[in-house]
Every structure is written in structure tokens, then in C-alpha cells.
Amino acid sequence: MEEKIIAIAGNPNTGKTTIFNSLTETRQQVGNWPGVTVEKKEGYYIYKGIKFNLIDLPGTYTLTGESEDQKIAIDFLTQNKVDVLVIVANALQLERSLYFLILLSELQKNIIVDLNMVDLAEGEGIEYDIEHLEKLLKVKFVKTIGNKNIGIEDLKEEIYKKCKEPISEYFKFNYGDEIEKAINESGNIIEKLNPPYPVRFFALKILEKDEYFINYLRDRTDYETINNLILNLEKNYSKPIERVLIEKRYGVIHGVVKEATIEKKKELKLHITEKFDKILTDNFLGPLIFLIIMFIIFNFVFLFGNPFVNFLELILDKLKFVFLSINLPLWLTSLINDGIISGVGSVLLFIPNIFLFFFLFSILEDTGYMARAAIVADRLMHKIGLHGKSAIPMILGFGCNVPAIMGTRILENRRDKILTSFSTPFMSCSARLPVYLLFTGIFFRENQGIIVFSLYLLGIFVGILSIKIFGSIFFKGGSSPLIIELPPFRMPYWKSVLIESWIRTKSFLRKAGTIIFLGTLILWFLSYFPNPNNYGTELNFIGKIGKFISPLFRFSGFDFWQAGIALIFGIYAKELVVGTFGTVFGIENLQDTIRNYFTPISAYSFMIMSLLYMPCLATFLVLKKEIGIRWAFASLFWSLFVGWLFSTIFYQFFSFLKGG
């Protein structure tokens, strides 16, 4: 089948994702661009016998080599054969979208502008003369209303037609004689280097003082000649030349938009958005609403998710029963039941919660609340060294770390994304709760609530500590100050929200599923051999490992092999810590046996360890996927270290107090 490559670009908040989802539906894949933490979305659709492969480029306002996501867009567009570039424009903010169009035009691609959200613009009394825009800017315009699925077929048809055409004339912006001359002169120098970018585009980037392109030039040729050109220009304009360029572009756009606007009678305009904004970001009401929404999300994800989780658990149990009843060799039954079903099952159990989580997350994003939440949280987060947007993933970490870390994709800045992902595992997720409940139920019956709460606080404290330490070691400078667009409030497009949630859940499943399966086999092997009859006890490898590591916890108060094994299994998933104690101590007298092994002090110390070290294998895998293998391992070892450190300090301190 004939295949075409279509790239989709656009400013944030233009409805680009909705358009992408409407075109590809569930035929999508999410991954990362090679070597970076920026998300890459691909998908395809078939139209008139041609397979159109879509690449969703990161949403940006401009096109500079200085930022990771924009560099990706530049490189993708210049180094690949792109048949059509679709720019999604927001009809409410046409000027800014056209500005982006002018920047992209310099890459000399076949461009279609998708004028999205035309209904919102019409609501404001604005309509555009499309033909006039097309004539002035020499590109095809298609009107769509993404969240109502209107115009999508037109868009497909125009993309199809455009693929058949050779690159027609493209819009070439005229910056005026003086600047054009400088562009040409620097172009002559650049051309000799044979760069993988269009020469005129490159020259413009140099005039804009784009660090990436300047360094590219510096490494290969004499930059001084061009620099003098720039200095001369700046002398004449008496302001930085990049500002002149931006102003010239906007000057022309302003004229174009004015000419093409058909002002209609304005409907009575109620400033609803403004009123909402005032309330949602109010210094008192804002945080309150924020907390209420978080509370609702929590309950929704877990209250609605848990029946499904229980149902899945039931199915897995039934499945185990089935394998028990058919007469397989003992080892195979154990491999399937204790290994595969328990291990892979522990990941499967995340699915309902993850799906619901992404469902709500997409709604918050689509309606525009997410940006308001970032404003509300900014003051507090700034003190920690992150900005407002980081608060959302971190708070959701109290539910489940896995989707929370996946949620860090809303952060554009690499530093913020890494530090947020890195500290999120310390937010005590719901899987740690069974461990607390077991131990507090035995040792701290009177003040169970306070004890559990103190562990949550300790998690937050260690999270902040980690940000401070790793932030200052690995990242120069603080967090970038917040600057965020507040999109108009709008209804989410349910189909797009569902597609979005499903694609993300699926991507988690596939990645986690394969590696968890492997991990499962290893752990099962260690638990089963060499004494198959004593699964997961001291007679087998796993017990020996437990025995081997237990001296590490000598000063933490729990240096016996049972605790060692429980902690090892806890790497799978924290719920297994409790389950493992059940296996090694025996379920009947679990409470009494634990009382024999632990004291209140060592029990609390053990809870600290359980709280702080890597929450589960799935978290580790998601960290690897989101911020890279090195940071994932850093997180693993750091969490083991702080867990050990805090539990030891705690145990020693209180043992000393008690003894003294």
C-alpha cells in the first residue's frame, strides 16, 4: 500500500491532540523520541487506499534549537521526507498560530492549516475569509471543530489532495531590504557548511541568536563575520534584531488577520472565563477547590476502580484454581500460579486504576482546569524548587505512583520532569497501606491514625529532600519561573478522552508486561529452587538472599531473613510484603509471630523502610520509560539508601532513648 508521512504541529491549546485522535482513533502508539524525555505519538489512518502515517510533533509556540522539544520538531521536519505538514491553528488566537505558520514556512514543506475551534471564534463574533487567507499566505486552510468531530473528513481529503501535488510555491516572508540582505549574506557563509537545514531558515535562526545554531556555526566556521552583520543591523534598528524580526512578523500577521476578519454582530458576551479564573485561582478559594477536585479524583479512581480490581483478582484466583485442578507437573503449576499469574497479575491489577486516572487526567486537561491548578500550586511548589505544574503528578502519587509518574509528561522542562518523577515514588501510595495496617494494628492500636499519618509526612519530607539534593547536584539554576497559557474553558470531547486514556493504558501494559514477565520468571526460579517443596522459604535461593541481605538491617532492628525476603518481594509490589510475611510466618498466628520478631520501634523502622524504597517494579519501569534508565537506577539505589538510612537512624535514636 502506498504510504505517506504527515506531521502535525501547532501551539499548545489549539486542540492538536483532539485532531490527532480524531484522525487516527485508536491506531496509535506512544513512545519517546530517541534519547530524550519528550513524548512521541504516532498513528495512522487509511484514506482512499493510501496509508497516512501521522507524527504528532511537540506543541510549541516557536521554533528554536535551544529547547529540546522544538529541536525535535525542527530535526524531524528537516531530516525526514514529510509529505504534508498540518498546522493546527486556534481560530480564537489566529495571530499566534499564523506566527507559527510563518516560522514553519521557512522549512519549505507542503503545508495545510487546520483552522480549529471555529465555533468558539464564531461565538465571539469572529469569522474569517478563508479564501483571502489562502491567497495572502499561499497555504490551504481547512475549518474544523475538533471536539465535535466536524471537518475531519474535509481535512483528510485536503491532506490526500496535497500529497498528490508537488510542493507548490510557499509563503516567503519579506523582512525588508536591509534584513533580507543580511539573511543572504549569512546564507552564503552557511551554505558552504552544507548544513542539514534549509539555508535561509538557518540564517534566520542565527539572526534570532539561537544558541544551538550559533554553536553549530562556531564549531565549523568563523562566526565573527556574521556577528558583525548582526551588530550592524542592531545599530541601525537600535534594538535587538530578534525583537525586530518578531515585530515584523506580527506586524504583517496583524494586517493579514484584520483584512481577513469578517466581524459579525457580536453575541452578548459574558465574561464567564474571567469570572471562573478569578474564583479558581483565588488565594483562598483556589486551593480549596484544588483540594476538592483532587479528593474527587482520588475517590473516583479508587472507589470506582477497586471493584474492577477485585473482579480481576477473582479471575486470577479462579485461574490459579483451574491450573491446580488440571494435573500438570508440580513445577509447572507452581511456575504458572506462583510465578506468572501472581507476578504478571500484580501488574494487570493496575489497569482499572490507571485507565480511570488517565480518563480524569485528560478531562482536567481538556477542560482547561489543569493550567489553573498549576497557578494555584505554584507558590508552594516554588519554595520546594519546582513550579506549579509539578504538584499534580506528586499529589496523584498518593494514589498510585505509576500513572503519577506517567503524568509528568505535562512538564515541558527536563529538569522539572526528572525531579518530579524522581520524588514521586516517596509519596506513599495505596499499596503501602496494607503494610502500615498490619504493623500499626499489632503495635500501635491506640494511635494508628497518627502513626500512619506520620509515615505520609515522612514520605513528603524525603521527596522534598531528594528534590533539593538532586536538584542542586545535577541541575544548575533553580526551576524556571512559571509562564503558562490558560486555555478557554471548554467541554471535553469524550471520544478523544477515551482514546487518550486507552492508548496510555495500553502503552503501560505492553512495556510493563514484557519486562515484568521476565522479572517474574527470575523471582519464581529463586523461590522454587533448590527445594521445590518449600516455596519462598529460607531453604531456597530467595531465603539465602534474604539471609545474605538481612545483616544490612542489623542496626535498623530487623535483621532476620523473613524480613529480608519480604523486602525483596516488596520490589514486585508493596502489597506482597504482607503476603510474604503470611507465607514465611504462617497465616494462623501471624500477629503473635510478628510480635515475637518485632518491637514497636523496629516495627516502625520496618515501615519506614517499606515506605521509602522503590514502591514496585512497575514504578521502576515507568521511571525508566519516562526519564531514562540511569535515572531509574539512581532512583532505585537512592530509595534503598534513604530507606536504610532513615530506618537505621530512627531505630538507633529511639532504642537509645528507651535504653537511656
Binding site: 525583537r243 518578531i246 479564573d277 509562564i483
Partner: protein
């Protein structure tokens, strides 16, 4: 002339954006020197400004470098 970080709600004209990097950021988002903006929410916390159909939340660290003048 006041800093955007210090003003109350109301209409203002952008007189200058001091730091170059910040100017670039705001220009790319469609806010220019000479624009009339409306401050919807003032400090403490991020400042929210509006120009036409564009609403932007600006952290204190950026607002401190934006100079504005009250218009009636």
C-alpha cells in the same frame, strides 16, 4: 511605571520587559511591548493577564521584570 508583580487588577500598558529571555518568551506567546493588557489576578502567587483571547499565568519571577503603566 510599576512592576507587573506589584500592581492591582485593572488595565495596563506594557512599557518594557527587562530581561531579554523573558521578553522572547512573552513575545512568542503573543504579548508585546505597547500592548494593553488586563490584570485579572494580582500577586501573591502568579499573576494572570489577558490580552484579547489570550490568557496567561505569569510567575512572580517573570512578572518582576515586566514594567507596566495604568490606563483608564
Amino acid at each position: 511605571m510599576e512592576k507587573l508583580s506589584e500592581v492591582k487588577e485593572g488595565k495596563y500598558k506594557v512599557i518594557d520587559i527587562i530581561k531579554h529571555g523573558k521578553l522572547k518568551k512573552l513575545y512568542n506567546m503573543g504579548i508585546f511591548i505597547g500592548d494593553i493588557i488586563e490584570v485579572i489576578k494580582s500577586s501573591p502567587g502568579p499573576i494572570i493577564i489577558k490580552k484579547g483571547n489570550i490568557t496567561i499565568g505569569i510567575g512572580y519571577g517573570i512578572a518582576i521584570d515586566i514594567l507596566v503603566e495604568k490606563v483608564d
